[in-house]
Assembly symmetry: C2
Homo-oligomer: 353 residues x 2
């Protein structure tokens, strides 16, 4: 499968991936190689990665606890301290092996350790493969507020190896699939049509490649999110608020990122229908597609109050206004739409119908 | 006084400084202006800054405690949380008003808040004016290890207003003067000769301008410190280790940064004489110049052990070797010299004579 070239690095797929890694490690002559894992990728993915590495290096494995709840500055501090204690210098490299928490946090830790060391991302979840693999966003949460602290920083390379997906539970796969559906909604109606009724296991490699390609094409045109790149936030303005609310709520179980933005895409679909002319048929198709795949959440009216109060913290806002990405049609997004609170409550009513 | 143009911004001096700030604030249309201060710059410098600002903005003042001991991630977290709590968005700007702790930490906080907001540095100490005003280094300490966490990130502008120096104690002025002496040692013998016997108050504006110019010329040629920029670390390899050791030692009083690198410059001067042909006369001149200005520190042999054990953490090292900047002559530096521990002990003996 053809490598996809992003800003200053490439995304390598499957059989080409480990070969590219070995070539890079040989050429780069790092002083030391650190591998960041959580307990899951430590158990299931590290045994796949290690035999594939041919270069003769000292490796040190650093394990953090899995889960969005640990994607915070306290975890970063522990990793910085471990790196420092193990004499990581400016010529060290950090390989991030895991889901989005590992690649987001590991990318931030590497980009700020001694003002920046190299890092390589090996996403092991479908979500991280299609979403975190290109774009250079790194960062951690601040309390319940998602990705409040971070930098834009590019890895040396990204390896997408679908073998790692065999280590995932179905719920994790579905979470990643939500971002792929989003790529169809914001950029390519044909792609949406391919995905909406489900796909076979034999198609997943091709579809991951297509999703990475769509995201890469967008971020290359607008790396710093001045305009076009904002379309990737479809479903995320409300989705992030829902995710944050569930993260700090004692009464609710945690939602996975894809589950939260699936809700966000239905809510923002309704707003799109009401404000931007998205056809009723298309709205229904969006709602039914997500309803078939993701658990329906019951929101109390105090839940909705809590979610709305988190909205103002979303990074996509400026000057106190809340900007949404909406759809004029499937594959046809519009950015910077401002929405009144009352309409958002109506969108929740539609989701709950 | 002519503005000095650095990477993507300018350093403006004295009467031109506030005019440039007002022009910038007017043009930039920020959503909100935050000013980071410590208790000293809050009391002494903010009353000078505020009347000079003409633009009609909402200002929020954020105060942190002064001192290197507070230049850490815990303080960053408090500032990130305050920014978030005050609804700072991506179009906000942070003005860092204070010494090197404020500009280093504030630059890092701004560069990582929501993946980066604008910041403006207004150094109020001599050290920060001549050292932190150009080069884009931001960051904080990790325990006793200096500047272990940070990024290279450029401010929108830097204002050097020597009126702020009137708010400083003599010891603070001397600390900054050490960096100016370093600029002479690494780049310009004539400048060293001007400075070494002391300067009058009427000369300070011209000399600050000259020091900023020397540093800027170096960092523009090598922004990422691959080679030439390393010369700015003269005196810092051992100076940082001494500074870190005093920071975490219960028995010693804190040393100011300039006092620590003054010791480092004498130690590394002796190494330069022994390894790189620095003339004995020049070494004596260096030692006497610093001895006349800075308190002589008595190092016990266990102090020296402790300082040597910190050396391996210096950011300038890679592959486990400790690289020094030495002098072949005054104004004529050489980089990447590796030194045996035994010689460093002899350098301490020379300092202590």
């Amino acid at each position: 499968m053809k490598s996809i070239t992003s800003a200053a690095y490439s995304v390598h797929f499957n059989t080409f991936a480990f070969a590219a890694l070995n070539t890079h490690l040989e050429k780069a002559s790092y002083s030391k190689v650190f591998i960041l894992v959580d307990e899951n990728s430590h158990e299931h993915c590290l045994p796949i990665l290690m035999p594939a590495i041919e270069a003769a290096y000292d490796f040190e494995v650093i394990e953090i606890e899995s889960g969005e709840i640990n994607k915070n500055i306290a975890t970063c501090t522990r990793v910085w301290e471990v790196l420092s204690g193990l004499d990581a210098d400016r010529k060290s490299v950090l390989i991030n092996l895991g889901g989005g928490v590992i690649t987001d946090l590991g990318g931030f830790v590497a980009s700020t350790y001694k003002r920046g060391i190299d890092f390589i991302n090996i996403p092991t979840t479908l979500l991280a493969m299609v979403d975190a693999s290109v774009g250079g966003k790194t960062g951690v949460d601040l309390g319940a507020l998602k990705n409040q602290v971070g930098v834009i920083s590019q890895p040396q390379m990204v390896l997408v190896v679908s073998e790692f997906l065999n280590t995932l539970e179905e719920r994790q796969l579905q979470s990643g699939f939500a971002e792929m559906l989003k790529h169809g909604l914001i950029r390519d109606r044909n792609y949406w049509n391919t995905l909406k009724n489900g796909v076979g296991a034999d198609q997943i490699d091709t579809l991951i490649h297509q999703s990475v390609g769509i995201k890469n094409e967008v971020v290359l045109q607008d790396p710093t999110e001045q305009s076009l790149r904002k379309i990737l936030n479809y479903g995320h303005t409300l989705g992030h608020a829902v995710e944050s609310f569930f993260l700090e709520s004692a009464e609710h179980e945690l939602l996975l990122h894809g589950e939260a933005i699936a809700i966000g895409m239905v809510l923002e679909g309704w707003l799109s229908h009401n404000l931007q002319g998205l056809q009723m048929d298309d709205l229904t198709e969006i709602k039914n597609t997500f309803a078939a795949r993701y658990p329906k959440i019951v929101f109390s009216s105090s839940d909705i109050d809590g979610i709305l109060s988190l909205l103002k913290f979303d990074k996509k806002n400026s000057h106190g206004n809340i900007n949404f990405v909406l759809l004029k049609g499937i594959g046809n997004p519009v950015i910077d739409v401002q929405i009144e609170e009352n309409l958002i409550r109506q969108a929740f009513a539609y989701y709950s119908e």
